[in-house]
Amino acid sequence: MPEFRTEEMVLNMGPQHPSTHGVMRFVVHTDGEVMRVAKPDVGYLHRSIEKIAEKLKYPQFMPFTDRIDYLAAMNCNMGYAMTVEKLAGIEVPPRAEYIRVIASELNRIASHLISVGVMGLELGAVTPFLHAIRERETINDLMEELCGARLTYNYIRIGGVAQDLPAGFAEKTIEFLDHFVPAVDEYNRLLSYNKIFVKRMADVAVISAENAVDYGLVGPNLRASGVKWDLRRDEPYSVYPQFEFDIPVGTGEKGQVGDCYDRYMLRIREMVESSRIIKQCLAAVPDGPVQTKLPASLKVPEGEAYVRTESVRGELGYYVISDGSDKPYRLRIRTGSFSAMSIVELTSRGLMIADLVALIGSLDVVAPEIDR
């Protein structure tokens, strides 16, 4: 019998592809429908934000942090502000801390809504995406009222926040949250518990806890692998210790711990937890100023600091080296999507082509955050 040989097919997914979040590319080596490996190729959205930082004064860099992760601009603002505050020894007024938490948790809900909505879109269900976008629109409106922008907020300042809460903001937010939690249930009925959806997600692209830690996975992706790790609880910052909230972890409820379904469901649960935090926070906001008076030209004492916060995509670290001038000497940004993307090559082995889409969707990577 003659030897029967098959040829490996190389499939190029991206840079323009409906399921790459932003612009990135996968070189997929397949054997029919089954992937041998998918190699991610990133960098299409590299804007050298780290280099830009070296050319700008500390407060001037704030709008650029919006663009690191445009879906969670508030969290990126906050991390940067906290780093500079730590280095310069700036106290933040309590009211500002609360407002920061409210804004970044709202932003977390908004970003998770995109993530879970896109998850449906990746698997062919268009309607859940639009339902998620519909809820997110309300948050965008709230944010616009708060800081004047819908996506790139540039709201948090070194030493506080730009403006106080607008009149009626608390009422509107609570009204939204009261409407939002039932909407999540509806969303679950529509998509999360759908048998087809569960089948597509459960037991797919399992990431073990060991690998997750080793590859530096952070945030929801790490927690979905069963590691109960949340910087808001484990390395508390801002006013988070005062609030009561649960940290959902992956339990493998429909398959194994650390599969796509766990990562997806975790985000659904986190949205509900975030709304709990916001409610507590709104009830506890103290009065007072929202910004510390800073010198006209902020000079940061020599030194270096690495500050990490729990952004939407997990640990967002800013490593700032100051040489005592008014500009950072070096600024390094460590993002969650970057490490999440690095595990794709390992996890993609042996998956089917359709699973790659589910994997990327469930990792919730945002291309500009990878490339910075």
Binding site: L56, P59, Q60, F61, M62, P63, F64, D66, T127, R134, E137, D141, E144, E145, L146, C147, G148, A149, T152, N154, A162, Q163, P166, E186, R189, L190, L191, Y193, N194, K195, I196, V198
Partner: protein, 168 residues
């Protein structure tokens, strides 16, 4: 075997639930939330935006005292200011105040930096700035005529100040 029928049952029941949700949306019980921008909205969208909304920048040369804080704060240098000293007047007088809206990223740092009250530089709610020529996006607030006007104003102010000082 039990799993087999359970699978069928789960598939049917969960799909039915999901279809229930979409059907509810199909009925008039749920209204569409989109608006028909730009021509079929009850009021122009600009008017529905909140007060703080950061749209196109506007500048009031009569308020400005030419301190150029805005240009210095701008992270991307989209504000270009030329100013000159006028013989006999205090401070500077603006000669050129251009904002390149094509570069502007609507961060609002310049408006925060503006020290005069009411602010000389402010975000309007206007966001419909699309044109087909890049040059149209460079907003020039000071022309030849306005410059002369500002010079006169500065001189007048200086005179008044002088008169007040003389009176003392």
């Amino acid at each position: 075997m039990r799993r087999y029928f359970l699978n069928i049952w789960e598939a049917i029941s969960t799909i039915a639930k999901g279809m229930g949700v979409t059907l509810v949306h199909f009925t008039p019980a749920r209204k569409s939330i989109t608006i028909q921008y730009p021509d079929r909205t009850p009021v122009p969208v600009v008017e529905t935006l909140p007060e703080r909304s950061r749209g196109m920048l506007t500048f009031d040369p009569d308020v400005c005292d030419a301190c150029s804080m805005c240009a210095m704060t701008c992270p991307i240098d989209c504000i270009s200011i030329d100013r000159e000293r006028v013989e006999g007047a205090k401070g500077f007088v603006l000669k050129r105040f251009d904002i390149d809206m094509a570069k502007c990223m609507y961060c609002g740092l310049c408006t925060e930096a503006c020290p005069v009250k009411p602010k000389g530089l402010e975000h309007t709610r206007e966001f419909e700035g699309a044109t087909d020529r890049m040059e149209d996006l460079i907003l020039e607030f000071i022309d030849e005529k306005k410059h002369r006007e500002l010079v006169e104003k500065a001189l007048k102010k200086a005179e008044k100040l002088k008169a007040a000082q003389n009176e003392e």
